[in-house]
């Protein structure tokens, strides 16, 4: 990334000079390095994770005792909505992007992703979406219709049609407050969707085109396979929610009535559209974690993944079947017995590939030599906790019992076992596992183990007990409850559990922060791992590998570290032996894309266009014009800017 004087390359449209900074703030804003972008995704995701976690704690304080008035209903609804929206769109999805960005190119032996500037664009647009979404704290408040945001509560009716509560007696004022919050939801998620869609295209092209020579599809690490499946799911799912969000926007802002039965619309349409996106979304969130633990378990079992082919095809099957189950979120809406039967049965079939995965992870551990390090503990925890979520999922597929369970705390328990027990446990395992690769230092193992065990306790205390609350009749999304239903003690314990989780996450954050400087030096391959990312330095140079490795097997690194004896057993090759080349070479003349101002700049225009919808008349036109000039102008300038300066 040697800076080149601006006048030496004069072709194309030059509005802004090439950024030169290699350190400091601007080097991060303008970077196109997948590793830096991955780190930024990680930091932004952790920020939103903490925000959404604090939101959850506030909800739990309100629900700790019956008839509590710690939060007003309006505030409670905003906080529970934003907890869900943030965890799904600003933690779950970008957390996947963080791992994909940093790890996937290293695992396939690529120098970067296929479209480095598009990658930066994805990240900055995602940040813009988060800023726009949370700008509600300075406007009329945050979205308050739940992450599912069912119409017509979210559109033409709103939570307070007469305005005695939200409008101080004015229905018009209340409807303006309502409209503002729904604009944040519809436009904010639309912007987030653009970011994710661009990232999905980028990952697909990267995986299909930029693998190191010899790395056939069936030699790719399972994590890369899961990245590919998730990217395809995103590619197909985001247009669905994109259209639904436009419909919502037009109902809210322009009174269109897609979901309003009094003008021929139908509230059921939103539910179908939302879940047609929303269910694949569940797999979008969980498959990255499946990929992560499929890397961790073989490494610490000292065995290859059991049933690689089955693991790959089970992942594909889950992604595929995930499109045929959306209406299992709607069994109680009155779709009729035929539709309920169909979606109940398709939902049950998903249990089969999921079960295959669980048994194959156990099969990987079976007969191995397990090192119970912190990443391994989290990976095993993921398998154990996700199994519980999977089993409660099967009880949901039994439609008649679903009539009782749906919209109760039983469902809250279920999907937290899937998303917290699966995604969060898996991701934390991934943090511990790849932290030494990213920073060059190991996280503290003792703290890590305390982190794991407190999280297991807090997690099960919190979400395990919610099963009972649901079965005992406590609905979701209620801001308060009366005494006398048998819910009081459980709710109090659950709140305690939530604070144990918070303490455990605090330990994780402390461990990460302290280990950056104080952690043990990791070296290139601290875990004695099996895949390519451990063949280069920790942290890797910006070009990843000095020479792109030639791949001859799955678990390439493991094969380079071992030789086969005459009787077929593997023996360890002495360090530095056969074919193990580690890059510690000096700066070379490897061709890498240059940084650019335009990806970040193009993101700036998007929330401006979104805020325009809060105004009307000339102000709206001016804001729309300014926003689109910034965004479209940046895209044009970017198109005419060479990806790397000449002479590089």
């Amino acid at each position: 990334m040697t800076a080149v004087p601006a006048d030496s390359a004069s072709q194309g449209l030059r509005i802004l000079k090439r950024p030169k900074a290699e350190t400091g703030l601007w080097s991060w804003v303008t970077t196109t390095d997948h590793k830096k972008i991955g780190v930024m995704y990680f930091l932004a995701t952790m920020f939103f994770f903490v925000v959404a976690g604090i939101e959850a704690l506030l909800l739990r304080v309100q629900l700790a005792v019956p008839d509590n008035n710690f939060l007003s209903p309006d505030l409670y609804n905003q906080l529970y909505t934003m907890h869900g929206v943030t965890m799904v769109f600003f933690v779950g999805i970008p957390l996947g992007a963080a791992f994909f960005n940093y790890i996937m190119p290293l695992q396939i032996g690529a120098r970067d992703v296929a479209f480095p500037r598009l990658n930066a664009f994805s990240f900055w647009v995602f940040v813009a979406a988060g800023v726009f979404m949370y700008s509600g704290v300075l406007l009329n408040g945050l979205p308050n219709g739940g992450w599912f945001n069912y119409a017509p509560l979210s559109t033409t009716v709103g939570p307070d049609p007469s305005g005695y509560t939200l409008g101080g007696g004015s229905a018009e004022l209340a409807s303006q407050v309502h409209m503002g919050r729904m604009l944040l939801y519809s436009v904010g998620l639309q912007i987030a969707g653009i970011a994710t869609l661009a990232a999905a295209v980028n990952f697909i092209v990267t995986i299909l085109n930029m693998r190191a020579p010899g790395m056939t599809l069936m030699r790719m690490p399972i994590f890369v396979w899961m990245t590919l499946i998730v990217a395809f799911l995103l590619l197909f799912a985001l247009p669905v929610i994109g259209i639904a969000l436009w419909q919502l926007l037009f109902d809210v802002r322009f009174g269109a009535g897609f979901f309003n039965p009094s003008v021929g619309g139908d509230p059921m349409l939103w539910e179908h559209m939302f879940w047609l996106f929303g269910h694949p979304e569940v797999y979008i969130l969980i498959l990255p974690a499946f990929g992560i633990i499929s890397e961790i378990i073989p490494t610490f079992s000292r065995k290859p993944i059991f049933g690689y082919t089955a693991m790959v095809f089970a992942g594909i099957a889950i992604g595929f079947l995930g499109w045929g189950v959306w209406a299992h979120h709607m069994f109680a809406t009155g779709m009729g017995p035929v539709a309920n039967t169909a979606f109940g049965l398709t939902t049950m079939t998903i249990a089969v590939p999921t079960g295959v995965k669980i048994f194959n992870w156990i099969g990987t551990m079976w007969g191995g030599k397990l090192r119970l390090t912190t990443p391994m503990l989290f990976a095993i925890g993921t398998v154990a906790m996700f199994t519980i979520g999977g089993l409660s999922g099967v009880t949901h597929a039994v439609v008649p019992t679903n009539y009782q369970q749906t919209d109760s705390y039983y469902v809250v328990a279920h999907f937290h076992y899937v998303l917290f027990g699966g995604l969060v446990f898996g991701a934390i395992g991934g943090f511990y596992y790849w932290y030494p690769k990213v920073t060059g230092r190991l996280m503290n193992e003792t703290l890590g183990k305390i982190n794991f065990w407190t999280l297991i306790v807090g997690f099960n205390l919190t979400f395990g007990l919610m099963h009972f609350l649901g079965l005992w009749g406590m609905p979701r999304r209620i801001d308060t409850y009366a005494s006398g239903f048998g819910w009081d003690t459980l709710n109090l314990i659950i709140t305690v559990g939530a604070f144990i989780i918070a303490g455990s996450i605090l330990l994780l954050v402390i461990n990460m922060a302290v280990s950056v400087r104080r952690g043990k030096l990791a070296g290139d391959d601290p875990w004695d791992a099996r895949t390519l990312e451990w063949m280069t330095s920790s942290p890797p140079k910006h070009y990843n590998f000095r020479e792109i490795p030639q791949i001859s097997a799955r678990d390439e690194l493991w094969h380079r570290k071992h030789a086969v004896t005459e009787d077929g057993a593997y023996i360890r090759v002495p360090a530095g032996g056969a074919g193990l080349v580690v890059d510690h070479d000096h700066e070379s003349d490897i061709h890498m894309p240059d940084p650019s101002f335009y990806p970040a700049l193009s993101a700036v225009g998007m929330p401006i266009m979104g805020w325009a919808l809060f105004t009307s008349g000339a102000a709206m036109i001016v804001m729309l014009a300014v926003g689109s000039i910034i965004t479209v102008g940046s895209l044009f300038a970017w198109a005419f800017e060479p990806s790397a300066e000449e002479g590089h």
């Binding site: 209903p73 069912y150 017509p152 509560l153 009716v157 709103g158 005695y164 509560t165 007696g169 039965p261 009094s262 139908d266 509230p267 079992s301 000292r302 290859p304 049933g307 109680a332 009155g334 017995p337 039967t341 249990a351 079960g355 295959v356 156990i362 099969g363 551990m365 191995g368 030599k369 397990l370 090192r371 119970l372 095993i380 154990a384 099967v394 009880t395 039994v398 439609v399 008649p400 019992t401 009539y403 009782q404 369970q405 749906t406 919209d407 079965l471 005992w472 009749g473 979701r476 999304r477 209620i478 801001d479 308060t480 409850y481 239903f485 048998g486 071992h562 057993a569 593997y570 023996i571």
Partner: protein, 353 residues
């Protein structure tokens, strides 16, 4: 742990527990739950057992030996694909049977009730000759051992209910209200009420009693305060109840009550609340269907969406003083009533037995 789970699933005496069914619909659902629950417990024990076994048995205990690099086992993998499939088929068969069984329309003997969900309360309208035009709010009275066929709609909280005979096919307007869900766990699982549609649910209670329920689909600010209950009576007792409800209101002849009655029409109440048989001095009748029907207000146990007690006069007075302050999002405005007016109005309401 398992004992705890089993104990949790066999709790009696919890008023809103789906695990303690009190009628055939909820019992059918609960029986299916018992089946799938124990299968899930068995799989849980198996999987967690295998994990724990593997962790203890195959721990690294030192040494340089490299474990055998087993990449898979086709026979095993086929087995653990087929066995779960068979288990699921075993669950699927009774599931599908039960779906259709529960969807079957009840016979002619069923009592038909129209259920209307509004922000944030439920109205119940008894249909047919037997119903005699009775409309209640937040309390659904039913006879025991007889199916009750509910026809559910979600309507606007601020617009009049067009009634059971409104027909959109001939151009009559369709009311647009948010989605609610009718859930009385001891009697049946949920059924959503969706604007523009009429949704059906059958419930039935074995024994007389009060079965609490609440809205289970998020509907806005007072979703948590959209409670209701189903009150089951012996059939003869139910007949008496509905005959009483069908009679017009007969307010006591009392100075304060008369004053309250007068206020009812002068203070906008009449523009939203129906009181059967009520006729104001100016001659206008209270028959509008926006807010709850108050004809026999004093015969109810709860009001304001089922979370305030009729028995407690202070709650009624607090409500009349500032409805949205007590129940956020309530569509009844703060009318700025004086203490004296509140006394009179509550005296009038308490006389509506």
């Amino acid at each position: 742990m398992l004992g705890l789970v089993a104990a949790g699933c066999a709790t009696n005496g919890l008023p809103q527990s789906a695990m303690d069914p009190a009628g055939p619909v909820a019992r059918t659902e609960d029986q299916l739950w018992d089946l799938v629950f124990w299968i899930a417990v068995a799989v849980f024990v198996l999987v967690q057992g295998l994990i724990l076994y593997a962790v203890f048995k195959f721990r690294d205990r030192g040494g340089d030996d490299i474990p055998k690099q087993v990449a898979g086992n086709t026979r095993l993998e086929v087995i653990w694909t087929i066995i779960p499939t068979l288990i699921l088929v075993g669950i699927a068969v009774p599931t599908v049977q039960t779906i259709f069984e529960l969807a079957r329309a009840p016979g002619d003997e069923a009592l038909e009730v129209r259920v209307v969900g509004k922000q944030y309360w439920w109205a119940f309208e008894y249909l047919g000759d037997e119903g005699q035009g009775v409309i209640t709010a937040t309390e659904l009275h039913i006879p025991t051992n007889r199916p009750v066929a509910l026809q559910m709609q979600a309507l606007s909280a601020t617009q009049p209910d067009p009634g059971p005979d409104a027909d959109p096919a001939v151009g009559e307007p369709v009311s647009n209200g948010v989605i609610h869900s009718f859930w009385v766990p001891r009697l049946a699982g949920k059924q959503d009420a969706v604007a523009g549609h009429t949704r059906l649910l059958t419930i039935e209670a074995d024994e007389p009693g009060t079965y609490p329920g609440q809205c289970a689909e998020f509907c806005g600010l007072s979703h948590a305060r959209m409670r209701f209950s189903v009150i089951a009576h012996e059939p003869a007792e139910f007949e008496r109840w509905i005959a009483d409800q069908a009679k017009p209101a007969q307010p006591a002849n009392d100075g304060l009550v008369a004053q309250g009655q007068e206020l009812f029409s002068s203070q906008q109440c009449i523009s939203c609340h129906a009181i059967q048989g009520y006729e104001a001095a100016a001659g206008q009748a209270a028959d509008v269907r926006i807010g709850p029907n108050l004809t026999h207000f004093a015969s109810r146990q709860t009001f304001a969406g089922g979370f305030l007690d009729v028995d407690d006069p202070e709650q009624l007075k607090a409500w009349l003083r500032d409805p949205p302050g007590i129940k956020p999002g309530a569509q009844m405005p703060n009318l700025g009533l004086s203490d004296q007016q509140i006394e009179a109005l509550s005296a009038y309401l308490y006389s509506l037995e």
